[in-house]
């Protein structure tokens, strides 16, 4: 393992707005995201960059390192504001990091957070912020959009800290046509064969976890909805507890497994495999031992479907109340 294989501090952020599955179903006629009761909705002036900054500031506040002392910044998201351009540099500048900081952006996969953690432990020569932030978007009539939530989680990796990154393992196997986003498109898409998608997810998540030397008592996998992680866990040897936040926050994309880990910590787990799964497909399993606090409590406000659709930039006629 690398020089910074401990997590010293963490920060999590969710937007202020929420929509209930019921409110969504009432206005839209159906709600197709299994296991999602409620989800976070980003404001129109938020994106992966602004959410990343919020989570990163909290992680920095909890660290003994000051921002000038950071050697690296990794940014992970499936929804960077541009297809090309170093978005991590924008995050670094907003945070006021030193110009000598090494940056990297990991995108194109909901597993990007796992790759960012791997990079953070191995590449920069000192304390490194790893931040995953996401706000997936689908077509309004698509289950992917019904599930889509928003949020960000940041970990400050350092030489020492209360959480030790003990081991990582990977699994890669092609499953074409599972979740993807076409070049230039805003909305994520999939071929839409549920059994095939479940099989891709289950095979790859279990493949990465099984490749760890020691079976973890708990897993925090990427959660495209609030059901799939539990279904996949049945394929694992042993009886791992499953942590996900899709039920409350919706699909937080690349931030999902990091939110799952924070939820596991909040529940007292201290030996967890974060499993960053990305369709296509590949997964990085990161076994971490220890706990930290990373709460995303804040005052929230419920929005109607019409408000939701406007905030997300969907042009739809709902006829619902406003």
């Amino acid at each position: 393992m690398g020089v910074t294989d401990a997590i010293e501090s963490a920060g999590a952020y969710t937007p202020r707005y929420r929509i209930d599955a019921d409110a969504f179903a009432e206005a839209w006629g159906t709600f197709d995201a299994p296991g999602v009761q409620r989800k976070a909705v980003p404001g129109a002036d938020e994106d992966a960059v602004t959410m990343a900054v919020e989570a990163a500031k909290t992680a920095l506040d909890g660290s003994a390192h000051d921002r000038e002392g950071l050697a690296g910044l990794a940014f992970a998201s499936t929804t960077p504001p541009v297809d090309e351009g170093d978005v991590a540099a924008t995050v670094a500048e907003i945070l006021g990091l030193d110009n000598t900081v090494e940056t990297a952006a990991f995108t194109q996969s909901t597993g990007a957070g796992g790759s960012a953690i791997r990079w953070g432990t191995e590449v920069p020569d000192g304390p490194t912020l790893v931040v995953a932030a996401d706000a997936p978007l689908g077509d309004p009539d698509d289950a992917l959009d019904h599930a889509a939530g928003a949020g960000a989680v940041a970990f400050l990796l350092a030489e020492d800290g209360p959480v030790e990154i003990r081991e990582t393992a990977t699994y890669t196997e092609e499953f074409p046509g599972t979740r993807f986003r076409e070049r230039g498109a805003d909305a994520v898409d999939s071929y839409d064969a549920t059994a095939y998608e479940r099989d891709a997810y289950g095979t790859v998540v279990a493949g990465a976890v099984d490749a760890l030397d020691e079976a973890p008592p708990a897993i925090a996998p990427t959660a495209p909805n609030g059901k799939r992680p539990y279904r996949a866990a049945r394929r694992l040897d042993g009886d791992a507890d499953v942590y996900e936040t899709a039920g409350d926050l919706g699909d937080t994309g690349a931030a999902g497994p990091l939110f799952g880990l924070a939820a596991a910590w909040a529940d007292g787990e201290d030996d967890v495999a974060l499993v960053a799964f990305g369709d296509g497909a590949s997964a990085v399993a990161v076994r971490v031992v220890g706990t930290l606090d990373a709460s995303w409590d804040r005052e929230t406000v419920d929005v109607s479907y019409a408000e939701y659709a406007r905030k997300r930039g969907h042009v739809v006629e709902t006829g619902g109340d406003d």
């Binding site: 202020r16 129109a44 002036d45 994106d47 602004t50 924008t90």
Partner: protein
């Protein structure tokens, strides 16, 4: 708000836009925003010491924009409805104009505590301009 600002001009003051960097007057100690020109307190033109504020302060004046915003804010208005703009007196003393976010702007009053957060201000020519807005504190 409202006047076209080229990207190079915008870029020149990123520390101010992203972190509200203030100029502290070497003569009287007052803080000026942005950190350029003469001291707002004593008009001294001596070089400022740049300092970063906590980002917290109090609303001293505000208004709600319900229509007729400059074109770069048209999308925001469509998506979020009316939005607030305010003058905030930072705890360090400098007065800073800014947009309000994460609130119903009609409920924000003079004296309310707010904190700086970075949001998308607008997008123009394909480039997102990020900058500080103010959010009421819980």
């Amino acid at each position: 708000m409202g006047a076209y600002l080229s990207v190079p001009s915008w870029w020149r003051n990123l520390d101010g836009r992203y972190r509200l960097e203030l100029g502290q007057c070497p003569d009287c100690g007052a803080h000026t925003f942005p950190a350029e020109g003469a001291c707002v307190e004593c008009n001294s033109t001596a070089d400022f010491e740049t300092v970063e504020p906590e980002g917290t302060g109090e609303v001293v004046a505000g208004t709600t924009i319900t229509g007729g915003a400059p074109p770069e804010f048209a999308d925001l208005q469509t998506q979020e409805g009316s939005f607030g703009v305010a003058v905030v007196e930072l705890d360090e003393g400098a007065r800073v104009p800014g947009m309000l976010t994460d609130c119903d702007p009609t409920t924000v009053e003079r004296g309310d505590r707010v904190e700086a957060v970075v949001r998308r201000i607008y997008e123009q020519e394909g480039i997102v301009r990020y900058g500080v807005k103010f959010r009421p504190m819980d």
